[in-house]
C-alpha cells in the first residue's frame, strides 16, 4: 500500500495548564477508508477531534492534508480544507428555519435536499423552524448538511447514538458509500457492532497517546480492548484491593428498580440496591446513566417502570420527595450542587432549611453540632470556609457529600464523585463510602474510572444502550472485564470469536 494518506497527524499534543489532554497522538487516514477512533473516557478522543476540526489549536504536532501542511486553526479554515465534523449535539440554530441554517453555513440547497432524501427523510419542509424538528431528524440534517459540501474528510462523533434503528441503518449505508467515492470518514463510536460493520481500520488512544492502529477483522475487539487498557490487562486480578467478599449478611432491599424507562436513553433497567452495600454502575458516556440517577433522585419523571423504596412503589415529582424518602443525590459536577458564594456551613446546612416547617429561626447549637461532625468526618479543610468557591475541588466535593451525612440520608446516589479531584481526597472518599455502607447505608455509585469499582463496590451493574447488560460480582470486575462489558461484549468472549457473531448476544439484556 503506497497510497498517500489523505490526512496525516503526528505528535499532536495539547496541554491545559499542568494537565496534558493529549501527549502524542497520531492519526493517519487513507483515501476512501472509514477509520474508527477509539479510546476510554478521558483518553483524548474529543481533544484530538477538536484539534482536527479547528475548534482548538494544538501546542505541538504536525497535521498534513494530502501531504501538505494546511492551516486549520479555526473551524472555518478546517471546512475550507475539506474537514467537516458532525458533532454529538445538534448544531442547527433552533430559532432559524432550516433554509436559513443552510445559508448560514453556505450549504448548497439541492445537494442537501438529495442527501436528506437519501438518508430516509422523504418529506422535509425547509421552511420549518429547526426547533420543531425531532431530535433524531436534526441529527440526520446535520449529516446531510456536512455531506452536501462534499468534504474530503467527514468526522462523525457518535452519529448513531440518538437515532432509531431504521435511520441508523440508512446513515451507516450512506457512510459506507461515501468511502467508495474516495472520500474518508473518521468514525467515533462506542459500538463495536457498528465499527465492525463499517470501518476498515481503528486508531486507539490511551492517556493522550496513540497506542495502536489495527485492521478491523473478526476477533479484533479483544485486541482493541487490550490496547485501550494497556498494561492494566496484565495485572488483571493480581491486585485484589478490597478484602474480598467477606461473609456479610445481605441487607434488606432498599430500592428496587423494575423495567425503568426514561426518555430516549434509558430503555429497560432493573436492579436492587440493598442496605449496607455499594453498588457500582458502569457505563460509557451517554448510555442512560444520567437519566437513571436523575429519575432515582426525583429530578425527572420516568416514562415507565417501577421504583420501589423499602417495598413501597414511589413516584417522585421533585427531589424533595426523594429526600423525604432518605435518598440523596450527589452530582459529579460540583457547581451543580453548591452555592459557591456561601460558606461551608451554609452549604452543608442547606437541606435542614429546605422544607417549609424549617423556615423559622435556626437552632444554631443543634445545627453546629451536625455540621461540625460532618466536617470532621470528611476532614474538610475549613481555612477558607467563608466562601465555598475558595476551596479546592476535592474539598468542594467533600462538602457536597458532607451535606447528606449531616442530614443523615439513608441512601446516597453518587454520580462520578471523584471526577477531577486529587488522589488523596479520592482515597478518603472511597473510605468514607465503605464506612457508610458498613453502617447499613446503601450507595449507588457511578464512576467513569473503572479501577474504582474494585476499590469501593460490592458489585458492578453495567449499562449499555439503556439496558443492564451484565452484573458483575466485585471479584471479577477488573478493568478489562468491565471495559468489555461496557462495550456490550459478552462476559467470557474468547479472542477467536468475531464481533458479528455476538451481535445478538450483546443486545440481549442479562438480568441478575
Amino acid at each position: 500500500m503506497t497510497k498517500q494518506p489523505l490526512l496525516d497527524a503526528t505528535g499532536v499534543a495539547k496541554r491545559y495548564g499542568a494537565v496534558a489532554a493529549l501527549k502524542n497522538a497520531s492519526l493517519s487516514l487513507l483515501p476512501g477508508e472509514v477509520h474508527a477512533l477509539m479510546g476510554a473516557n478521558g483518553a483524548g478522543k474529543s481533544t484530538l477531534v477538536k484539534i482536527l476540526t479547528g475548534a482548538i489549536s494544538a501546542n505541538s504536532g504536525r497535521i498534513l492534508l494530502r501531504g501538505e501542511e494546511r492551516d486549520i486553526r479555526s473551524p472555518a479554515n478546517a471546512r475550507r480544507a475539506g474537514l467537516v465534523p458532525v458533532y454529538q449535539e445538534p448544531s442547527l440554530i433552533p430559532d432559524l428555519d432550516i433554509l436559513s441554517n443552510l445559508r448560514l453555513t453556505r450549504t448548497p440547497v439541492e445537494p442537501f435536499r438529495e442527501w436528506v432524501r437519501e438518508l430516509g427523510v422523504p418529506d422535509l419542509d425547509l421552511r420549518e423552524t429547526a426547533r420543531d424538528v425531532p431530535l433524531a431528524i436534526q441529527r440526520v440534517l446535520d449529516l446531510a448538511r456536512a455531506l452536501a459540501v462534499e468534504p474530503d474528510v467527514l468526522l462523525l462523533d457518535e452519529m448513531t447514538a440518538a437515532l432509531p434503528a431504521n435511520l441508523a441503518e440508512r446513515v451507516l449505508d450512506v457512510v459506507r458509500r461515501q468511502s467508495k467515492t474516495g472520500r474518508s470518514v473518521i468514525f467515533i463510536s462506542h459500538r463495536f457492532v457498528e465499527i465492525a460493520a463499517l470501518c476498515d481500520r481503528a486508531t486507539v488512544l490511551r492517556d493522550g497517546e496513540t497506542v495502536g492502529v489495527v485492521d478491523i477483522a473478526p476477533g479484533v475487539e479483544e485486541r482493541i480492548v487490550e490496547l485501550m487498557l494497556g498494561a492494566k490487562v496484565d495485572k488483571r486480578r493480581a491486585a485484589q484491593t478490597r478484602s474480598g467478599p467477606e461473609a456479610r449478611p445481605e441487607g434488606r432491599t432498599r430500592i428496587a428498580v423494575r423495567s425503568l424507562r426514561v426518555g430516549a436513553k434509558l430503555h429497560d433497567v432493573s436492579f436492587d440496591l440493598r442496605d449496607g452495600e455499594v453498588a457500582g454502575v458502569v457505563a460509557l458516556e451517554g448510555q442512560g446513566q444520567d437519566e437513571l440517577f436523575a429519575a432515582l433522585a426525583g429530578s425527572i419523571k420516568p416514562d415507565g417502570g417501577i421504583i420501589e423504596v423499602d417495598g413501597q412503589a414511589v413516584r417522585f415529582t421533585h427531589p424533595a420527595d426523594a429526600i423525604e424518602a432518605g435518598i440523596a443525590y450527589v452530582p459529579g459536577d460540583r457547581t451543580e450542587a453548591l452555592a459557591m458564594q456561601q460558606s461551608v456551613r451554609e452549604n452543608i446546612a442547606l437541606p435542614f432549611s429546605a422544607v417549609f416547617r424549617n423556615w423559622g429561626p435556626i437552632n444554631r447549637r443543634r445545627e453546629d453540632a451536625a455540621v461540625q461532625s460532618a466536617i470532621e468526618r470528611l476532614q474538610i479543610d475549613t481555612r477558607a470556609q467563608r466562601e465555598v468557591q475558595r476551596l479546592s475541588g476535592g474539598n468542594q466535593q467533600k462538602v457536597t457529600i458532607a451535606r447528606w451525612i449531616a442530614a443523615d440520608a439513608r441512601t446516597l446516589l453518587c454520580f462520578d464523585p471523584t471526577r477531577g479531584i486529587d488522589v488523596g481526597t479520592k482515597q478518603e472518599i472511597y473510605k468514607l463510602l465503605r464506612q457508610l455502607a458498613d453502617q447499613g447505608k446503601s450507595i449507588l455509585f457511578y464512576t467513569s474510572e473503572l479501577e474504582e469499582i474494585q476499590l469501593v463496590c460490592d458489585r458492578a451493574i453495567v449499562i449499555f444502550g439503556g439496558r443492564v447488560v451484565d452484573v458483575l460480582p466485585v471479584g471479577i470486575a477488573d478493568e478489562a472485564a468491565l471495559t468489555r462489558a461496557a462495550y456490550g461484549l459478552p462476559r467470557d468472549a474468547s479472542a477467536d470469536v468475531g464481533i458479528l457473531a455476538h451481535h445478538a448476544a450483546s443486545d440481549r439484556a442479562v438480568t441478575p
Binding site: 451543580e336 458564594q341 451554609e346 435542614f352 444554631r364
Partner: protein, 328 residues
C-alpha cells in the same frame, strides 16, 4: 489550593486591606457616608447639626424601607418594580378611606392590594417562571390602572390622614424621628430573617444557585411566593408611613423612589445577580443617597445638571465599591 489567601500574615498590605474590605464590606460604605457629610459641612458650614441629622434620617427611612423589600428580592436574583405602585396604593387608599372609616380599618384596607399584588407576583415568578422584571412591571401597571379607577369613585370625598401616621411620619421626639419606632423593629426583623432563619438561608442559596437548592429539596415556588408577599407588605407599610410624611396623596406618591430603592441596595453591596449582600449595607446605601441628594440641592445647580451628577456619582460609587470588596 491557594493557602496564601488564607494566611493574611504572608500577604502584602494592599492585599490585607482588600481582604479586610471583603470581610467587612460595610466599612468602606460608612467611610463614604462620613466623607459626604464632611463635604456637605465644608460647602455649607454649620449645616450639619442635630436637626439636620434627624431630618435626613426621617427622609432616609421610607427609602430604606422600600430598599429593604428590594434587598430581600434581589438576594434571590430578582427585582420588584411593583413596590412603588404598592406603596402608592396603600398611601392613597388610606388617605381616602380614613374619611369614612376609623384609621385602623383604613390601614387594613390599604394593605389588601399589597397582599394581592405580592401574591400575583409570587405565583407569576415562582410557578410560571415569568422574569421578575416583567412580572412586577406588569402588576405595577395593572395596580396603577386600578388606582385610577378607584380615584374616580372617591374623588368627591377628599382625603384625610390618620393622626398616627402623621405623627409617625413627621414627628421628632427628643431629637429622634418617630419613624424609628417603625423602622428599627422592621430592620432588626429583616436582618434577623437574613442571618438567622431558614428562609433567609434559602434566599441567598436560591440567588446563588437555584439548581442546587432544588437538589437539596427546596421548593422554589414556595420560597418565591413568600418572598414577594413579604416584599409587597413591606412596600405597603412604607406607603402608609410615606403618606403620613408627605401628606399629599397622589397617584405617583412613591413612584420616584422605586429606582433609588434598587440603587440603595446595589450601593449597599447587594448583588443584582443574587446570593450576596444584606440589609445593613442597604440602610447605609439609603443614607448615602439621601445625603447626596441634599448635597446636590445646596449646590444650586439647574435640575438637569443635578440629575446628571446624581446618576454619575451613583454609577461611580457602585463600580468603585464592587472593585474594593471583590476579592478574587
Amino acid at each position: 489550593m491557594t493557602l496564601a489567601t488564607t494566611t493574611p500574615e504572608a500577604a502584602p498590605l494592599g492585599r490585607r486591606i482588600k481582604r479586610f474590605m471583603s470581610d467587612y464590606p460595610i466599612v468602606p460604605l460608612l467611610v463614604l457616608l462620613i466623607l459626604l457629610v464632611l463635604v456637605l459641612q465644608i460647602l455649607s458650614p454649620g449645616i450639619v447639626n442635630q436637626r439636620w441629622i434627624a431630618n435626613t434620617v426621617k427622609f432616609a427611612i421610607p427609602l430604606a424601607l422600600l430598599a429593604g423589600a428590594q434587598t430581600m428580592v434581589m438576594l434571590t436574583g430578582g427585582i420588584d418594580l411593583s413596590v412603588g405602585t404598592v406603596a402608592t396604593m396603600a398611601g392613597f387608599i388610606v388617605a381616602t378611606q380614613t374619611v369614612d372609616h376609623p384609621a385602623g380599618l383604613a390601614m387594613a384596607i390599604a394593605l389588601v392590594p399589597a397582599l394581592i399584588i405580592g401574591f400575583t407576583n409570587g405565583i407569576g415568578v415562582g410557578v410560571f417562571r415569568v422574569h421578575p422584571l416583567i412580572m412586577t412591571l406588569g402588576t405595577s401597571l395593572i395596580g396603577v390602572g386600578f388606582l385610577q379607577v378607584y380615584q374616580r369613585t372617591v374623588i368627591s370625598a377628599g382625603t384625610k390622614y390618620p393622626d398616627f401616621l402623621v405623627w409617625l411620619g413627621t414627628g421628632i421626639t427628643w431629637g429622634f424621628p418617630n419613624a424609628l419606632v417603625l423602622f428599627v423593629p422592621v430592620a432588626v426583623l429583616l436582618i434577623f430573617i437574613q442571618r438567622r432563619t431558614g428562609f433567609g438561608r434559602l434566599l441567598y442559596a436560591i440567588g446563588d444557585n437555584e439548581r442546587a437548592t432544588r437538589l437539596a429539596g427546596v421548593k422554589y415556588w414556595q420560597v418565591i411566593l413568600a418572598l414577594y408577599m413579604l416584599s409587597s407588605v413591606l412596600a405597603g407599610i412604607m406607603g402608609l408611613l410615606y403618606v403620613g410624611l408627605i401628606k399629599a396623596a397622589s397617584l405617583s406618591l412613591a413612584e420616584p423612589l422605586v429606582l433609588p430603592s434598587v440603587a440603595a441596595a446595589v450601593i449597599g453591596g447587594t448583588s443584582i445577580f443574587g446570593g450576596r449582600g444584606g440589609y445593613t449595607g442597604t440602610i447605609v446605601g439609603a443614607l448615602i443617597l439621601t445625603v447626596l441628594t441634599t448635597l446636590l440641592t445646596i449646590l444650586q445647580m439647574p435640575e438637569g445638571a443635578r440629575r446628571i451628577l446624581f446618576g454619575a456619582i451613583v454609577l461611580l460609587v457602585t463600580a468603585a465599591y464592587l472593585r474594593i470588596i471583590e476579592d478574587r
